[in-house]
């Protein structure tokens, strides 16, 4: 799956962008900046996905990850974080923690790179013949694809393949994932309720209501729903 030509160029562009954005995410002082940099990192990675031929996943990433999760992040940042940095507060932890973390991260990166090196060499030795024939295979596959409406490109079968797998062989994990999402929704709703909301649905113990009502007079007036 060697990329070549313009694909290589775009690869390097997006790769550098992703890494850079990631670095800035971690280093930015403002949380909103961090979020925006993360969004850009995610976008760069989505582009890398397209380069790898996984268009569907790229779309999913942008729609769900960026469009959903990051927006949620921004909402929460707006809720809790505004003014935090202005009020003062260090960005980084205590120096000792930071230095030790840096040391470990350095070791980790060295280890990972070494691992990739060794592993890739082994992989190459194992799949030499397959890699050699892969090129020819890919070329052939490319010719078989349908052309798009504008006849400039071909419609790839990636989405079709992912859909096939997801709904046939991986249907059970799919259903479980949907249940997981349901649980997550319910959980987050429950976690983020205010006391008033909880009292309104009579979800508080009476002594807690009484204790809170002493502090918050409005609470006592809230009638229960039933």
């Amino acid at each position: 799956m060697v990329l070549s030509g313009w694909e290589a160029v775009f690869f390097w562009v997006f790769a550098i962008a992703a890494i850079f954005a990631g670095l800035l995410t971690v280093m930015a002082r403002n949380a909103v900046h961090s979020a925006l940099f993360l969004i850009s990192s995610l976008l760069a990675v989505a582009a890398l996905f397209v380069l790898l031929g996984a268009e569907f996943i790229a779309g999913v990433q942008i729609l769900v990850y960026v469009g959903g999760v990051m927006v949620l992040f921004l909402f929460v940042i707006m809720l809790v974080n505004v003014g935090a940095e202005e009020r003062g507060g260090q960005v980084l932890n205590k120096p000792r923690q930071v230095t030790v973390s840096m040391v470990f991260c350095l070791l980790l990166v060295l280890g990972l790179l070494f691992a990739i090196n060794v592993g890739y060499k082994g992989l190459q030795t194992r799949d030499e013949k397959a890699i050699a024939s892969a090129q020819a295979l890919r070329q052939g596959q490319q010719q078989d694809l349908h052309r798009g409406a504008t006849r400039t490109s071909r419609i790839t079968t990636d989405t079709e393949r992912v859909g096939n797998s997801l709904y046939r062989f991986a249907s059970l994990p799919f259903e479980i994932a949907s249940v997981l999402l349901l649980v997550a929704i319910i959980g987050s709703v429950m976690l983020a309720r205010t006391l008033k909301q909880e009292a309104a649905v009579d979800d508080l113990a009476p002594d807690v209501v009484a204790a809170e009502a002493a502090r918050d007079p409005e609470l006592a007036e809230t009638p229960p729903i039933s």
């Binding site: 799956m1 990329l3 070549s4 690869f11 992703a18 890494i19 990631g22 995410t25 971690v26 979020a35 993360l38 990675v45 890398l48 996905f49 790898l52 996984a54 996943i57 999913v60 990850y65 959903g68 999760v69 949620l72 992040f73 929460v76 809720l79 809790v80 974080n81 935090a84 507060g89 980084l92 932890n93 205590k94 923690q97 930071v98 973390s101 840096m102 991260c105 980790l108 990166v109 990972l112 992989l123 397959a130 024939s133 892969a134 890919r138 990636d158 992912v162 096939n164 797998s165 997801l166 994932a177 997981l180 999402l181 649980v183 997550a184 929704i185 959980g187 987050s188 976690l191 983020a192």
Partner: protein, 135 residues
């Protein structure tokens, strides 16, 4: 000292790169699976560094998203590689990525719900101020 080490280092570099410059240039011009993996590893480590270093809870969460993203990249790269080498289960990587995204979304939702509840109780987003488990 330098007179002792410098020639050694030069020779090392020579040894290491002798005949390898072409290979390196070729691999840069035609990036392979390994490059993707390296990118993924770097993103991963950056995310880890962020988790360990920052004080802001939200930023920690975002670093965790970075980590997950790096893993996704790894999956997709391997999925493509396996496709090319003729493995029938190649699309499993992409399917797994879908699930990773799902779980990441769910986890982000819950986590941020916790952050909000935590903020309501303690009025702070600095993680080193949330240390009730301290002895």
């Amino acid at each position: 000292m330098s007179t002792f080490f410098a020639p050694a280092l030069v020779l090392l570099f020579q040894e290491a790169t002798a005949g390898r410059a072409d290979v390196m240039l070729h691999s840069v011009k035609n990036p392979d699976l390994s490059k993707f993996l390296v990118i993924g590893a770097l993103l991963f480590v950056i995310g880890v560094a962020g988790v360990l270093t920052r004080r802001n809870i939200i930023v920690i969460f975002m670093s965790i998203e970075l980590i997950l993203n790096a893993a996704n990249l790894n999956f997709i790269a391997f999925s493509r590689y396996l496709q090319d080498t003729g493995n029938v289960n190649a699309v499993a990587g992409q399917v797994f990525t879908v699930f990773v995204i799902v779980v990441a979304a769910a986890e982000a939702a819950i986590g941020l719900g916790i952050v909000i509840a935590l903020y309501r109780n303690k009025e702070t987003i600095w993680i080193d101020e949330i240390d009730l488990l301290k002895w």
